[in-house]
């Protein structure tokens, strides 16, 4: 059986003619979700109370910090509707960003792994290019630090196999790290 047949017939019945989905809603008007990580293995949807529960038919999605305020913003590519930019207005919580420049590795350092240790524990990220659906997010790696204003150690494993270790970095900055140079340039 053609898997779409039932859908078509259902629509026919309602409209009496060949139906275009343009008139009907199929899982329409759904609200985007923002799952807050509660830190205990559970998540809570906080999209509505944070003004992030857009109702359009979302498809693509890019995360970046377009205004460089240390708060991650969201670009949404909707289907047949306007693109949208959700600006993160910020709150408490310190942060740190890294832009990695590969030398022996690919210049974008895609595949590099960063581990950040603070008093509260470990975080890890891998640099990826192409994610979500149809989209690419920022190559800049963003770490929230909570109350921490300094980071004890940062370890970077580059795709080439080389390794960088950085110590005692001040928070609330974006650092550029060039492969082979164990210094983070803040700006």
């Amino acid at each position: 059986m053609d898997m779409f047949e039932g859908v078509g017939r259902r629509l026919d019945e309602k409209g009496g003619t060949l139906v275009s989905i343009g008139q009907h809603s199929l899982n329409g008007y759904e609200r985007n979700v923002l799952f807050r990580n509660n830190g205990d293995g559970t998540f809570t949807d906080v999209a509505f109370v944070n003004g992030a529960d857009r109702v359009e038919d979302g498809r693509g999605l890019s995360i970046f910090d377009y205004d460089r305020d240390g708060q991650l913003d969201i670009l949404i590519r909707n289907f047949r509707q306007p693109a949208q930019l959700l600006q993160n207005r910020g709150g408490t919580g310190h942060w740190l960003q890294f832009r990695l420049v590969g030398v022996r590795s690919n210049r974008d350092a895609v595949g590099a792994r960063i581990r950040v240790r603070t008093a509260t524990g470990l975080q890890s990220r891998a640099v990826t290019a192409g994610s979500a659906y149809l989209s690419g997010s920022s190559l800049v790696q963003h770490f929230g630090l909570g109350a921490a204003t300094r980071v004890g150690t940062v370890e970077i494993d580059w795709p080439s196999g080389s390794h960088t270790q950085l110590r005692d970095l001040a928070a609330d900055r974006r650092y550029t790290v060039v492969e082979g140079v164990d210094v983070a340039l803040g700006r």
């Binding site: 259902r10 008139q23 329409g28 990580n37 003004g51 949404i76 408490t92 895609v110 080439s160």
Partner: protein, 536 residues
């Protein structure tokens, strides 16, 4: 692993077959739909939420054939997760009888205004009818404004009994299993599109029309990178004809520089996925744009955000039914390679067999030769996946330094291709526990539990009891929206973690929106919203 996935929809299909004997399957289904599913949907999905939104207590109570409910009472909520900006209250103080009337009075008193009420049916156990009715696991969501002005969302998990009485479905019993509210007086996000001067409505001319309905074309994505090297990230929005490149002006606004950038306008192909990456290691982000029709394209950034179409010169095959390009240096030669996940031919064929389809257009792996050209190595590498794919992601799940590849197919099993370090890949999805027959629409890798190992979030179709229920073949694989992968083993933690119901999910991404050191998840969703509000 499927251990925690509940088999509700399949049971529903099964019962429909049992109840209605051997005639044509579609007819049987139609009967079930007309007599059972539609009326039940009307009562639970439509009437109850609408009555709540109208604050019409009488109409709410008319849907109940009982006056008293059990389970959690409204007494003694506790503040949980006090570390977060949002106030989270959880009920769990006392269990006992409570009148349905009192329950809804308390609920309505919580909100000064109600924006939206929704009842999501997660599972109806048709196999176990009882005099009191079928057991139904549901979630009630109510969103609105509290008396103190805070935006507030209530989520209440319930076990209902539903039975047909006098030609209508009624709730004969209600047990509240869980109740939480989350509230905030200051939302983190604001819609900044207009201020940022991004004005782009998606269209995709030239896209084939999907057979599912008359006008449905393919979607397009977005990508960000600092294309002109000024330290601020710029925005590319794919689409046709109006693909657009917006330059970041450092003051919260953007300007459309599509024409000046040398990118084609109007865009000449039905564009789908897009990604910036520096394929020639010259320090300038280049752009790959896949297409469902009209050909994939590679644009070389000549410097300063000026692009030239180098598709042919670089040996990039136009391909067809492309969905999404993703990038990694899989052979670790220092040059980034491109994998393009591809759909099936929606014009000429259907997925076969539906959710285990192997008749899709093969995915493509383009090896970067390091001299500005690419070679199609899909077959040799063993990643010419024949599922109908929408989304994929590179991640090094076994942490050996070699990028592995997760392919989420809409129709077809998902695959986890292990990088064998010799230019070939082996699908280890079954062995690792990451193999799912799920309708995957979006993929993201991220270490959400901070154990140092990358996990996977896969956004899938999740249709509750809506239109997918109308067809026997559609609902089967729907409820697996999440997979999380540890080191060489995967465990589906969707139910335990509370992220199963992302609705009809598409793009999804990990991000730490509140800078607390824990990766959160943002997901966009919705299939098609038309002027007729109700889903068919």
């Amino acid at each position: 692993m499927r251990g925690r996935a509940h088999p509700g929809w399949r049971l529903l299909v099964g019962v429909a077959l049992v109840l209605h004997g051997p005639p044509a399957r579609a007819d049987r289904w139609e009967t079930t739909r007309r007599t059972v599913i539609d009326p039940l949907n009307s009562e639970l999905h439509r009437h109850l939420p609408q009555a709540i939104k109208r604050r019409d207590l009488a109409a709410v109570l008319a849907l109940y054939a009982t006056e008293v409910g059990t389970g959690l009472t409204w007494d003694a909520p506790m503040r949980v997760y006090p570390q977060f900006e949002e106030e989270t209250l959880r009920w769990g103080g006392r269990q006992g009888d409570e009148t349905i009337r009192a329950r809804y009075e308390r609920l309505l008193a919580l909100f000064r205004e109600i924006d939206k009420a929704e009842l999501r049916i997660h599972h109806i156990d048709w196999r176990h009818p009882a005099p009191a009715g079928y057991p139904a696991t549901v979630r009630l969501l109510v969103r609105g404004t509290r008396a103190d002005g805070a935006a507030c969302q209530l989520v209440q998990r319930m076990l209902l009994r539903v039975a047909q009485q006098g030609g209508a479905w009624r709730i004969t019993a209600e047990e509240v299993l869980g109740r939480e509210t989350v509230a905030s007086t200051r939302g983190r996000y604001r819609l900044a599109t207009a201020d940022a001067r991004i004005q782009n409505v998606h269209s995709n001319e030239g896209s084939p029309i999907f057979r599912i309905a008359g006008t449905l074309t393919n979607a397009s994505g977005s990508a960000v990178a600092d294309v002109d090297g000024d330290g601020w990230e710029d925005v590319f929005l794919a689409g046709a004809p109006n693909a657009a490149l917006y330059r970041n002006r450092h003051d919260g606004t953007f300007e459309d520089i599509t024409d000046a950038s040398g990118l084609p306008h109007p865009y000449p192909a039905a564009a789908t996925g897009a990604v910036f990456f520096d394929y020639d290691n010259d320090g300038w982000p280049d752009l790959y744009v896949a297409a469902v029709a009209g050909g994939d394209r590679l644009f070389h950034n000549l410097g300063g955000g000026h692009f030239a179409d180098v598709t042919a010169a670089a040996g990039v095959p136009p391909g067809r039914w492309g969905s999404m390009p993703i990038v990694a240096d899989y052979d670790r030669d220092g040059f980034l390679d491109v994998f393009v996940v591809r759909m099936g031919d929606h014009e000429k064929t259907s997925p076969s067999p539906n959710y285990e389809a192997r008749n899709g257009v093969p995915d493509t792996l383009l090896r970067n030769n390091g001299d500005g050209t690419f070679t199609d190595v899909s077959q040799r590498a063993g990643v010419a996946d024949r599922g109908w794919g929408l989304a994929a992601g590179w991640g090094d799940y076994d942490e050996d330094g070699w990028p592995d590849l997760y392919v989420g197919n809409e129709f077809g099993f998902s695959a986890l291709y292990h990088n064998e370090r010799n230019g070939t890949f082996t699908d280890v999805a079954r062995r690792s526990g990451a193999r799912e027959r799920a309708a995957t629409m979006g993929v993201a890798w991220g270490d959400f539990d901070n154990d140092g190992h990358a996990d996977i979030y896969a956004a899938n179709m999740y249709a509750n009891s809506r239109w997918a229920l109308v067809h026997p073949d559609f609902p089967a694989p729907i409820p697996w929206p999440v997979r999380v992968l540890g080191w060489f083993t995967a465990e589906v933690v969707a139910d335990a973690s509370g992220v199963r119901d992302g609705q009809w999910g598409w793009g999804t991404e990990f991000l730490d929106y509140n800078n607390d050191g824990l990766l959160d998840i943002y997901g966009v969703n919705g299939f098609v919203s038309g002027p007729v509000l109700d889903d068919v």
